[in-house]
């Protein structure tokens, strides 16, 4: 039995959530519509949800300069794949070691991991160490290694899973059968930990796919431009617009800039894969976020 009061609440909830969903979606819809707007119409009439003239010109432009964009897309995929794979492997290996509470020194190691959540050097020393000691400026490693490859919070997440969700008896029976730690790890622990590793992989994959900061810091346009990912290209266009808008154009002319509709088309192809796969992985993603929020 549902009271009238309760019914009114449900109505209100539907209204608020439907309006919010629309607010969440409308910017993306505008982005897609601009990318399909005729360029001249976009400049003369401004951006609109109902453009006077539609066109696929922006995407034809992308096809014409396909070299650059296919390359950038390839870089995005490559960086995401390498980064995510390495992240899942080294995170789960370290987490496994930390889950062995009886191991001598494991308390110290735990502290070493947790301390990185509390204190960090920040951009300046990180940038200097990576560029002057490891020389990763303008190499692909500049996109993969800094900051994204492992985080203390992911380690804690996986460690807790190993400790609480895999029964201790399994380890013991494997040890009695003469299995070594590596064997136990790869044959027993990993197959039983697919849900948590999928969550970690998914979240890391999205941060690599979306990352533009490493490119901003570690790739210079003239020497590292060939390594740009899609996000780096989007960022570079923004930088050029900013230069054009300020009084010192700094050698940038509007000819260097793709048209407004083409820029939106690049953004569309940049977010397309995430929007397509996201609904299927929404459950894992939401779970990972909730787990991570309290710890870390």
């Amino acid at each position: 039995m549902i009271s009238r009061d309760q019914k009114r609440w449900q109505m209100a909830a539907h209204v608020v959530l439907a309006v919010s969903s629309a607010l969440a979606l409308l910017p993306f819809i505008l982005l897609v519509i601009i990318s399909f707007t005729d360029d001249k119409t976009a400049i003369e009439n401004g951006y609109s949800y109902l453009p006077a003239k539609w066109s696929t010109g922006a995407y034809e432009y992308l096809l014409q300069s396909a070299d650059k964009f296919v390359r950038a897309y390839g870089m995005t995929i490559l960086v995401t794949l390498i980064g995510t794979t390495v992240c899942v492997i080294i995170t789960s290996m370290l987490a496994y070691m930390l889950s062995k509470r009886s191991l001598p020194g494991v308390k110290v190691l735990n502290f070493i991991v947790v301390f990185t959540m509390l204190f960090n050097g920040g951009l300046v020393p990180t940038y200097m160490i990576y560029t002057t000691v490891f020389h990763i400026k303008n190499t692909i490693w500049g996109l993969i290694v800094p900051n994204l490859m492992m985080s203390a919070f992911m380690i804690m997440l996986v460690r807790n899973y190993f400790e609480h969700s895999i029964p201790e008896e399994l380890y013991e029976s494997a040890r009695i059968d003469g299995a070594g730690e590596f064997c136990i790890f790869f044959k027993i622990v990993i197959p039983l930990s697919v849900p948590i590793l999928a969550t970690v992989g998914l979240m890391t994959g999205i941060s690599y796919w979306n990352d533009w900061q490493n490119g901003l810091y570690y790739l210079a346009k003239d020497k590292g431009g060939h390594l740009y990912t899609i996000q780096n290209i989007l960022n570079e266009i923004n930088t050029n617009i900013a230069f054009l808008a300020s009084y010192n154009a700094g050698g940038v002319s509007s000819a260097d800039l793709p048209t407004a509709t083409a820029r939106m088309a690049i953004a569309v192809i940049g977010i397309l894969p995430i929007i397509v796969i996201y609904p299927f992985f929404q459950k894992y993603f939401a779970k990972g976020l909730v787990m991570g929020a309290v710890k870390g």
């Binding site: 909830a13 930390l98 190691l109 050097g121 020393p125 940038y127 820029r263 953004a267």
Partner: protein, 288 residues
């Protein structure tokens, strides 16, 4: 087995911590971090003599405080409303869609904002021009940006707040509501007297944990969305954007490393304090 991971922490986290000493040095490119001469607090004196230090600390703290409170209110409200929805499909749809902006990079968010605010062509620019007869130049006028940044921040983050509090709302025993309804409590009263009090531990926990991050800011939001426009720095400059600009745009290692050092140390104090408070409130939610 943990060796690769520990090695990574050494390179990515511990070497930069030692490298923080560069803030007390007169950095020379040919000498590097270790061999540059010590200058004591000179960099800090220079930094705090400029008005920049005050502006970036003020912006970082004020935006954070407002967003933490606003995010909490909206997150709890949306979680309660989502829990009212009976249809499983509608529930899943709302949750999926409202969480989607959370997955976007800040560069993409900057493009979305630009579609509305661009000079001459932006949708809002044109609508405002039609209504008021005056063209608003969003990317040069500071007074709009506290609202724009707040909107983008909440637009992106509200889905996260929602699912976070939802997991606590779902855990509330339904018999409590039944008992309250039998006593004649309206749905509003039920939420005020049952839901909110039961969410209080989660809310307090999240507030304290967020307070621990109050000296940090979302670099992308403050750098990308205002399109790095100098005219807007008075309302968009935070510690993170300052450090980046000083280091990579002006090559001023002294100033940027001093600001970076202050952020690391004060941030550390905030986090440890927050964690001590969490420990007092609820032992199992503390970080260490």
């Amino acid at each position: 087995m943990g060796l690769p991971g520990l090695l990574y922490l050494l390179i990515n986290n511990y070497m930069p911590m030692i490298g923080l000493t560069v803030a007390f040095k007169d950095y020379k490119y040919n000498l590097g971090i270790w061999d540059s001469p010590w200058v004591g607090f000179k960099n800090f004196k220079f930094l705090f003599k400029t008005g920049d230090a005050f502006v970036m600390v003020r912006n970082t703290l004020l935006y954070n405080v407002v967003w933490i409170i606003l995010g909490m209110v909206l997150g709890v409200t949306f979680a309660i409303l989502l829990n009212e929805v009976r249809s499983r499909y509608a529930k899943k749809f709302y949750q999926t869609v409202i969480l989607m902006p959370y997955l976007m990079s800040m560069v993409v968010c900057a493009y979305l904002a630009f579609a509305y605010l661009a000079p001459g062509t932006g949708l809002f620019t044109n609508i405002f021009a039609r209504i008021t007869g005056r063209e608003v130049s969003f990317y040069t006028e500071t007074k709009y940006w506290p609202f724009i940044l707040t909107f983008v921040n909440q637009w992106k983050g509200i889905g996260f707040g929602m699912i976070l509090y939802l997991s606590s709302v779902i855990g509330i025993d339904p018999s409590l509501y039944e008992a309250a309804a039998l006593d004649g409590a309206t749905r509003w009263q039920q939420h005020m007297r049952v839901t909110i009090p039961l969410l209080k531990p989660t809310i307090i926990m999240m507030m304290i944990l967020n307070m621990g991050q109050i000296f940090r800011s979302d670099f992308g939001l403050f750098y990308q969305v205002p399109m790095d426009q100098g005219a807007l720095y008075s309302v968009t400059q935070t510690i993170d954007t300052y450090v980046y600009r000083a280091l990579l745009q002006r090559n001023d290692v002294g100033m940027s490393s001093a600001a970076s050092f202050v952020q690391s140390v004060v941030g550390f104090i905030f986090i440890v304090t927050a964690n001590q408070i969490v420990k007092k409130v609820d032992e199992k939610n503390s970080l260490f």
